[in-house]
């Protein structure tokens, strides 16, 4: 049995402590329903546990493996949901985004959450809101060159954050 395999209850506890919040975050983003998201996380750990001796840390991270399982669980739950009459929670229609797009989007969003406020702020203002550097610089009370420099270091930090969460750039 490879070391690090998910074969004891304690392994599952540790895996849960390390990854449940992220798994739940993605499940919520793609299922848009807290009950289904909880079901998805529980089912993911159960499947991981059943296949625990097949997990090999030499091949990939536990996080990547859990996300691969969750992806399948979300597909199954999505199918089950579309097979029965839909009751939208709080009137919000669940996301119809294709799942792999949703997973990619979630990873980029999670990476953006992980970088510093300063870096995220300039990326949001200049890239997503399309505001000129000079205007953002005035608002932040810094020279324009600082905004430019933060954009550069922000992208570098984002790359590191993406690698941390297992995205292969």
């Amino acid at each position: 049995m490879p070391p690090g395999a998910l074969t004891h209850e304690q392994d599952v506890r540790e895996a849960y402590a390390a990854h449940a919040t992220e798994l739940y975050g993605f499940a919520m983003r793609s299922l848009a329903d807290s009950g289904l998201a909880e079901e998805a996380v529980q089912e993911t750990f159960l499947r991981a546990w059943r296949a625990g001796d097949r997990f090999d840390p030499q091949i990939g991270s536990l996080r990547t493996w859990l996300f691969a399982i969750l992806r399948n669980v979300v597909i199954d739950l999505g199918r089950a949901r579309s097979a029965r009459p839909r009751v939208a929670e709080g009137g919000i229609e669940p996301s119809v985004e294709p799942l792999d797009e949703a997973l990619l989007a979630w990873q980029v969003e999670e990476a953006l959450r992980r970088i510093s406020d300063e870096h995220r702020r300039v990326l949001v203002e200049t890239f997503y809101r399309g505001r000129p550097y000079a205007e953002v610089a005035r608002e932040l009370g810094v020279p324009e060159g600082t905004v430019k420099s933060r954009v550069y270091y922000g992208l570098r930090a984002l790359r590191v954050a993406l690698e941390e969460i297992g995205y292969e750039i």
Binding site: E9, M28, F45, F127, Y128
Partner: protein, 221 residues
């Protein structure tokens, strides 16, 4: 080639990768990139990140929702239940196999297989008295780290009846152990509660508008 010029240009690479660099600066940077493999390599690190940015929804960058605290216990309970179900299947398989072969094989297997089923923590069996005629209810309670796991056996309830199970603590307080729908008598739902078996005074079952209670004496098996 790393030079003073690189440091001047380097910080423009982010804006360049995002297509935000003004035209007049762009020409200068591109001329520098032509002659500087270091800066080209740096750009190659940033460009794929820049291409990913449009995938994200900037409205979703607030704090991510956290799973409810109780989910952790439910996950562990589901895994514990799965482990025991697997063990029971293996046990049954072992005995069925031995039954199909010689009696000696059965005896040998029993020696090796049976202790596996007995190696868990002590379970407490409970039977419900004063039930309506034709109805039988029994339960097996097993101590777990998260609380207690309950296997309940019901026979003779109306088909489809909603059954709610609760436990009574030593101070008289009640805690839910979940619910299930009765289907047929050979159905043993596995339920869980956070209350420790050692602190459990009684177990209750509510079927429709009737409640049945059975005392729990921990450690008697």
């Amino acid at each position: 080639m790393r030079s003073e010029a690189c440091y001047e240009w380097r910080e423009s690479l982010g804006a360049y990768a995002l297509g935000q660099l003004p035209r007049e600066e762009r020409a200068g940077l591109e001329a520098h990139l032509d002659g500087c493999p270091d800066c080209r390599a740096e750009l190659e690190l940033l460009a794929p990140v820049a291409r990913l940015l449009p995938k994200a929804d900037p409205e979703r960058l607030g704090a991510a929702p956290a799973p409810p605290a109780a989910l952790s216990d439910r996950v562990i309970a589901a895994i514990a239940a799965d482990r025991r179900a697997t063990r029971r299947r293996k046990l049954r398989l072992g005995l069925a196999f031995s039954g199909a072969t010689a009696a000696i094989a059965a005896a040998v297997l029993a020696i090796f297989v049976l202790p596996v089923g007995d190696s868990g923590p002590p379970a407490t069996r409970v039977s419900f008295e004063s039930l309506p005629p034709k109805m039988k209810v029994g339960a097996k309670l097993e101590p777990r780290e998260f609380g207690t796991e309950i296997h309940i056996y019901v026979k003779g309830a109306p088909a489809g009846a909603l059954c709610r199970v609760f436990v009574v603590a030593e101070d008289g307080s009640r805690l839910s152990a979940g619910s299930f729908r009765y289907r047929w008598s050979d159905d043993y739902p596995t339920l869980t509660t956070a209350l420790k078996l050692s602190r459990t005074e009684a177990i209750g079952l509510r079927v429709g508008n009737r409640t049945f209670l059975a005392p729990v004496r921990a450690s008697s098996t």
